[in-house]
């Protein structure tokens, strides 16, 4: 086997990889660049990446009766302040955090005890419950969104925070994953805890939970990324009530009135929504890749 690097072949490989990287990066480049430019620069496709950053007059601000001088801003400031002014973006972001955090916490509260019982306790019907979990793994929640929506509508829960969280409270994948992980925890550890007088309930939270931290962390990333980015379910569950909008729903609102002046703020909003996860990913790549590809462990 040849261990030496063939320089020409290596160069071709890098050329192909760089070309691919450019295509992958392109929309990120567009997004960030437009969020920095003035409406004129966006429409005329000028100004390079950063735009000229010439101060511009905010016409809307003038219309409100402010003096013209007070309404002069650079495009980048204009775009990012408009992102928060045009729509209650801050509220959307807080909604997003609230919903994703609630989903994850409830998923863990439901899944951990179940996974513990399935892996470490003997009880009548255990095989049946595990069979049920394996069957439910086949059902993608998005696919049954409609009947879930009908059920929530029947009990009057649409357009509430609860409707954003309820369908995701049960993560069969989480149960399955945690069960597989708990199977590797030695029984002796649990027996020792029992000898020390711990109840089964405190074994879960004081013994099993700490050992499961790495698996739980990966699952947290898996869950948070999926629900922060989710657009379909919030679109179905929330109609009209802007106070409950999650970040993707809020961003989508910009499209309603798509004249050129709104593009800058819209791209600024997109940048704000996408940045937290991308930044977290860049900081902890290995964990993120582990978490996102968790479903590959089946």
């Amino acid at each position: 086997m040849n261990n030496q690097v063939h320089p020409v072949r290596e160069a071709i490989k890098h050329a192909v990889l760089i070309l691919g990287a450019l295509i992958v990066i392109l929309p990120f480049y567009v997004m960030v660049s437009y969020s920095l430019k003035s409406p004129h620069e966006i429409e005329s496709n000028t100004g390079g990446f950063f735009g000229a950053q010439e101060p511009m007059v905010d016409e809307y601000c003038v219309k409100l009766g402010n003096p013209r001088d007070a309404c002069v801003e650079t495009p980048v400031v204009y775009n990012y302040t408009q992102a928060f002014k045009k729509a209650p973006l801050l509220r959307y972001l807080l909604n997003g955090i609230l919903v994703t955090a609630s989903i994850f916490i409830i998923q863990v509260l439901v899944a951990l005890p179940c996974a513990y019982a399935l892996s470490k306790l003997k009880f009548w019907g255990r095989d049946f419950v595990f069979g049920l979990v394996m069957f439910c793994l086949l059902i993608p929640v998005h696919a049954i969104a409609l009947p879930i929506y009908i059920m929530l509508a029947k009990i009057g829960l649409t357009n509430t925070y609860a409707s954003l969280v309820i369908p995701w409270t049960i993560s069969v994948f989480g149960i399955f994953l945690m069960r597989q992980f708990f199977m590797t925890v030695p029984d002796d550890l649990i027996d020792a805890a029992r000898m020390d007088g711990m109840s089964e309930f405190s074994i879960i939270w004081k013994v099993m939970l700490p050992t499961a931290v790495p698996a739980l962390l990966a699952f947290a990333i898996f869950s948070v990324v999926a629900h922060w980015n989710d657009y379909f379910w919030p679109r179905v569950a929330i109609t009209g009530n802007r106070d409950l909008y999650t970040p993707p729903l809020g961003l989508r609102e910009f499209k309603g009135d798509a004249d050129g002046s709104i593009w800058g703020p819209m791209m600024a909003t997109a940048t704000i929504i996408v940045t937290p996860l991308i930044a977290a990913f860049l900081l902890a790549q290995r964990r993120f890749i582990e978490g996102i590809t968790l479903s590959g462990m089946k």
Partner: protein
């Protein structure tokens, strides 16, 4: 029939020197074992012969032709890997046929659908399957031919790996610890099978192992390697009886040779732990090490002529045909092991004090540089 010659092979990985100038002539048809502790460079050397790795400097010659720039598959060598490296998705028959398919069929004949339509393919496939069947018969694995490696036991996989190597009729077989994944009983059995296979094929075997017992039992010659050097090359009995280096003496033989601190006085007379050997060496006033194999120690109940060492028995190991006596020497912390026949130790119990003396002429003396120092003649 062709010799394999290695000239001054050096190999460095980064700053670590793995091989430091190996010269080795491997004679056509011999069973040569490269043996040494892990990390001694034996596997790297085998891979360099195979062409899987490139030496930093030096030449590999096969049948007088340098093969430094010849690809692994074109050196006409076959290799049996430690993990067997069978293709898990192919049946035993397909595994064994792979080297022939790759060698004898053209690129187009190997292509999935197009290949089957080509006229030249059928006779070639037929003849290579015949070759595979012949080998299967020799190895007695005909009944396994349609199974996949995952369905075989360790020993069966071992045979298939051998079979894949044999179908090509190579000039030499390279084996990298092929028995180390087998259980102890099967390993002992396979030793004799491999030796028989070598005799019946009459082809060169180059065999890498860390197990000195495999080297002693199977090979025509063995090369003991340590830290990237060959310390000694020779027939197994030669290496065992006449080690040229202290490290070789310690590595070969089980239980290990007893090593005692000793000293050569002004006249070259050697004494170890207070007991004189009554022999002279060509060294004066120096610390030396005296080695005595367990089977070269005699057990006595009385000490004559100040010869031999007082020995307190701490453990009696019953091996059936023999006993191994473990104990301490001269009230010191030095441990020794002696082999004895059962009838000689029937009376000896743990805690007894007896005497051990070396059989005349069997002790070996090693100098401070680990090299063997021979006794002067007639002394």
């Amino acid at each position: 029939m062709s010799d394999i010659r290695l000239n001054a092979i050096f190999k460095t990985f980064g700053t670590t020197e793995v091989l430091r100038g190996i010269d080795l002539d491997i004679r056509a048809g011999e069973f040569l074992t490269l043996v040494g502790p892990s990390g001694c460079g034996k596997s790297t050397l085998l891979r360099i012969i195979a062409g899987l790795e490139t030496q930093t400097s030096g030449d590999v010659e096969i049948a007088g032709t340098p093969v430094n720039h010849v690809r692994a598959s074109d050196r006409d060598l076959a290799m049996v890997f430690q993990s067997y490296a069978l293709y898990p998705h192919l049946t035993v028959r397909q595994n064994m046929a792979t080297p022939l398919v790759l060698r004898d069929l053209t690129f187009w004949e190997r292509a999935p659908i197009v290949g089957h339509a080509l006229p030249g393919r059928r006779p070639k496939v037929k003849s290579l399957h015949a070759a595979v069947d012949d080998v299967a018969q020799v190895l007695k694995i005909e009944h396994l031919m349609d199974r996949k490696p995952g369905q075989l036991s360790g020993g069966q996989r071992q045979r298939v790996a051998l079979g894949r190597a044999m179908v090509r009729k190579p000039v030499a077989f390279l084996m990298d610890e092929p028995l180390s994944n087998l259980d102890a009983a099967l390993r002992v059995h396979m030793r004799s099978e491999l030796a028989e296979l070598h005799r019946s094929l009459g082809v060169t075997f180059i065999y890498v192992t860390h197990d000195q017992a495999e080297a002693l039992t199977m090979s025509n010659r063995m090369a003991v390697m340590m830290d990237g050097d060959i310390l000694q090359l020779g027939a197994p009995d030669e290496v065992y009886d006449d080690p040229k280096d202290r490290r070789v003496a310690e590595f070969v033989g089980s239980p290990k040779i007893n090593m005692l601190p000793g000293r050569a006085d002004g006249h070259g007379r050697v004494a170890a732990l207070g007991a004189p050997l009554h022999r002279h060496v060509g060294l004066q006033d120096q610390d030396v090490t005296v080695g005595i194999r367990p089977e070269h120690l005699q057990l006595t109940t009385t000490q004559a002529d100040n010869e031999g060492w007082p020995f307190r028995v701490t453990h009696k190991e019953n091996m059936g045909a023999d006993f191994f006596l473990h104990g301490t020497v001269n009230g010191s912390n030095h441990r020794m092991v002696a082999r004895a026949r059962p009838e000689d130790v029937a009376e000896v119990a743990i805690g007894h004090d007896v005497f051990l003396r070396a059989q005349s002429g069997k002790a070996m003396v090693f100098g401070g540089d680990d090299r063997r120092v021979y006794f002067a003649e007639g002394a």
